[in-house]
Symmetry: C2
Subunit: 204 residues, 2 copies
């Protein structure tokens, strides 16, 4: 099936779209589309709509840059959260991972990535300016650098620490409990919870 | 992330839809949705539309029951195909696999499954009535039973052969033998036994 002669252009289009997703090959894409074809039309329309609506209606929170159904996300608009502690994370998956530990009552700042020269991602591609602005605006007592414990994470930590050095704010990182080389997203909740509780001052 | 606190209902819906596909777990679904979120909105709309259109606009060929963009598929409406030879297959994937060999110039009949009591699929669930009608209508010289060489395939072959016994039509099955490129040593005994019984003259 290396060059499948598709009996239908519509089928081929759908297979091509699925095959464009990461980790989905053409055979898998075909299997997924065949599964959709077997379903009720209502179900399939709901599937398609969920994708279209996701892009049309989703917002990025104006304060923390996380995904949200509104202009301000549910965490940033929650009065019970401690707005003086900002937890800096790489992406939305990390927000969800930390939220699941139930150990953090502050707010987040989603960088939207991590400094990675190999992938061509520099500081200007990340939400670092708005972090500096936010901290400069005052009322912030602590910034937790909760990035992955990789080379890129360390580089980003270092860069942010220099940008924030002029402000009187405590910089902390997650406790070394997260194994070096591990992605935050895949760390188990207990380890991640302890790492947040035992966060330590950031040096250098 | 066993019970992820999604920051957005739209995001959660999209992840749930992807996770409903076979072989796609919640983590993978999340990764796929995050990939879609990073794309241009035009691309994402096209993705969603391709799924919705697939279900709304696709046809099943009235003659062979294969998938088609029109009422009659491109194979059944091709004047160059030999309409006196019908190749009976389980599904559309099999049509595509045989078409890719370039060895078959007849037409197809897609059963839409295979008799499998374990899965609750009986003859009534398959397009066997319409096959009988088609063969009964005359003009058919040969019916090739091109089903999988499994217990279910053999059962279905047997059932169809009985339903078509009253017609003056040649029933054939795919040749059974050692696959091209296979080591004899690792070929199973039943296959090898059949390959020896059905040995053919050596050419060149």
């Amino acid at each position: 099936m290396s060059s499948p002669g598709f009996p239908s252009k519509l089928l081929e289009n759908a297979v091509n779209e699925f095959a464009s997703l990461p980790g989905i090959g053409r055979k898998t894409a075909f299997r997924l589309v065949m599964n959709l074809l077997k379903r009720d039309s209502g179900e399939v329309e709901r599937f398609g709509e969920s994708i279209i609506r996701l892009h049309r209606e989703i917002h990025y929170c104006k304060i923390c840059h996380s995904i949200s159904d509104n202009e301000i996300c549910s965490i940033c608009s929650d009065d019970k959260r401690d707005r003086s502690i900002i937890c800096v994370v790489e992406n939305i998956q990390d927000v969800m991972a930390i939220e699941n530990t139930g150990q953090f009552r502050g707010i987040y700042h989603v960088l939207g990535g991590i400094i990675s020269p190999v992938d061509g991602i520099g500081p200007a591609d990340l939400k670092i300016d708005s972090l500096e602005e936010k901290v400069g605006g005052g009322g912030i007592s602590e910034v937790i650098l909760a990035l992955s414990t990789t080379m890129e994470g360390d580089t980003t930590n270092f860069y942010i620490s220099r940008r924030l050095a002029k402000f009187d704010v405590l910089l902390t990182t997650l406790a070394r409990g997260v194994a070096v080389g591990d992605e935050l997203e895949y760390t188990d909740e207990i380890t991640l919870g302890r790492a947040i509780s035992n966060r330590s001052p950031y040096h250098k």
